[in-house]
Symmetry: D2
Subunit: 89 residues, 4 copies
């Protein structure tokens, strides 16, 4: 679970990312220069990665930490490694 403060920050970042992604659609619609579109795509992907890393942080500090303290950490770590594997691609 994400803390209230962190949640607001993530929501703000997601709204900006929504705008950025809509901006990419518009750039394609308006036949803007490919390289400029690619740079925007690159920026949005980096922004999503940053949100993901922040969620990973909360998840590890929250759910994973609780599970480990209650001696049921193993499946949690399996799941974490699995999601990291996908995330790194």
């Amino acid at each position: 679970m994400v803390s209230q403060r962190n949640k607001q920050d993530l929501l703000n970042r997601m709204r900006r990312l929504e705008g950025q992604v809509r901006g990419i659609t518009k750039m394609i619609e308006e036949d803007r220069y490919c390289v400029d579109i690619l740079l925007q795509i690159s920026a949005s992907r980096a922004g999503l990665q940053k949100v993901g890393l922040s969620i990973l942080d909360s998840h590890t500090r929250g759910c994973v930490t609780s599970a480990i303290k209650e001696n049921r950490g193993d499946e949690m770590v399996d799941e974490l490694i699995d999601v990291l594997d996908r995330f790194m691609k």
Copy 2:
């Protein structure tokens, strides 16, 4: 420049991606399970990558090819490699 047919396909994919990104915001708002959010982020990043690759394809076949044929390919390739460098991160 992206061809008309390819453009429509890209716009369809971008609309789906817009929905996916709004979906991530909603998941954060509703305190959904972190791992599920991370999987959605991962899927959106992969979708953006795929759109990017398709734009790279058009760009190389279009602008870069024309520039090379007119013997002004060098700066185009500089710019291409530069955008690839950012894109790969």
Copy 3:
């Protein structure tokens, strides 16, 4: 710390990767086709990523889990997220 069994597996994978990386050098030396070299580079990077993920797994199950159980998990998670951030690039 990596378990003995996992360690042997990692060492075997690393020896193969060492051979693969030497193979890339040789391909460059022998002026082999660029695309073939790029595919080998891509395979080596994927192999290194896999070794990294396996070490991340051991680290989370080992050091991070112990630290969390002894209520000194916070810095460990900071360090973990920091290394993930670099790793994802």
Copy 4:
């Protein structure tokens, strides 16, 4: 094809990378701290990426440019996009 000057630079970088990869094996052998090993893996992957980008640059300026000038650029670009797709993962 890579130019002679660029080739020597690539070979120097590859020798350093070979050493770095052997260093990772040694770190695993000596049970070094996981996070330190992960940072080395991360650095080697970034080094390989850089070599790859430099080869991509030569390939685009050389083979791809020649093929385009001789009106047989299409398959070359197909191949290029295909290798970029793998490379970005």
